[in-house]
Symmetry: D3
Subunit: 68 residues, 6 copies
Amino acid sequence: MKISARNILKGTIVDVTKGQTTAHVKIDIGGSIVTSSITNQAVDDLKLAKGQTAYAIIKASNVMIAVD
Amino acid sequence: MKISARNILKGTIVDVTKGQTTAHVKIDIGGSIVTSSITNQAVDDLKLAKGQTAYAIIKASNVMIAVD
Amino acid sequence: MKISARNILKGTIVDVTKGQTTAHVKIDIGGSIVTSSITNQAVDDLKLAKGQTAYAIIKASNVMIAVD
Amino acid sequence: MKISARNILKGTIVDVTKGQTTAHVKIDIGGSIVTSSITNQAVDDLKLAKGQTAYAIIKASNVMIAVD
Amino acid sequence: MKISARNILKGTIVDVTKGQTTAHVKIDIGGSIVTSSITNQAVDDLKLAKGQTAYAIIKASNVMIAVD
Amino acid sequence: MKISARNILKGTIVDVTKGQTTAHVKIDIGGSIVTSSITNQAVDDLKLAKGQTAYAIIKASNVMIAVD
């Protein structure tokens, strides 16, 4: 499956924390940690676990820019 | 200003393309290109230009995870 | 590739309209038309065209609920 | 009230699960199940319950497209 | 129609600018100007025009917090 | 830091409620209450508390418009 989202960043899962409905997954992407907030069901469905290779996927319209 | 967004990735702007209302800005973050879709007004207001140091900012709830 | 997004709706592309930077793609999903706003680059990259089978993908945190 | 969101899909609520702050609501839309992640407060305020007719509302900029 | 979005801010439209596919609408909400990026089709469909009373609607998961 | 997000609304935090992973923060902005859903980690990191001056930050593409 090929997706329209412009940002597909490959990395390694370094943490999975589940709450009651919402989970936080952290991925190490070339030394930067990217945090994702997804449903517990997605974590279970994709069997996400620490150490796994995974992608952070972000639609371009959800990326802001900042300068110092 | 300190923001709640969990993902603040530092890089260098490699492209700024303006449309009639919406612009696309590309940032090189450690070798990965991140694409952002923002308003032309934001580009003008922040004086965004190729070669500039900038940050891609992404709320955790806008990051999805994928696996092969 | 398997994605965390909870909503993956299969349909047929019925319209692709490109602007200067942003395109609108309409998919017929079981009789309902779903409209998507994505980058022109995504349209080109995925070679999206009328008549094609495609999926509308929506993260659960981007779905609101309304009642009459 | 008429809203700018391009996607207003009518269906029937098939599940409401509340966490500590965030709830998941599932709507059957013509046989497809759409999952929504909203606040518990919204669930209480709209009195959302299984069996109710409801709408899934999605802004076009939050819809991605994928192809096989 | 009653919507789950937690933020419904009443104001007056002060500007509507259409691009090729995407429009920007500005609303004065108690002296603060809120900018919205929506489809041209939504502008046409709702007949949005300067001087009109309107609401800015924002899902809670799309609001970030910052401090100085 | 200067951000591309078009909507930066100053106010006072009136409530912070943490769940297991996701928190809700309410800000009074000139008499309107704006609700934000962010990670607990952001609440801790920014030391958000009732009575504090803070900003609600919203990307223009996440603002919808409605009319009566």
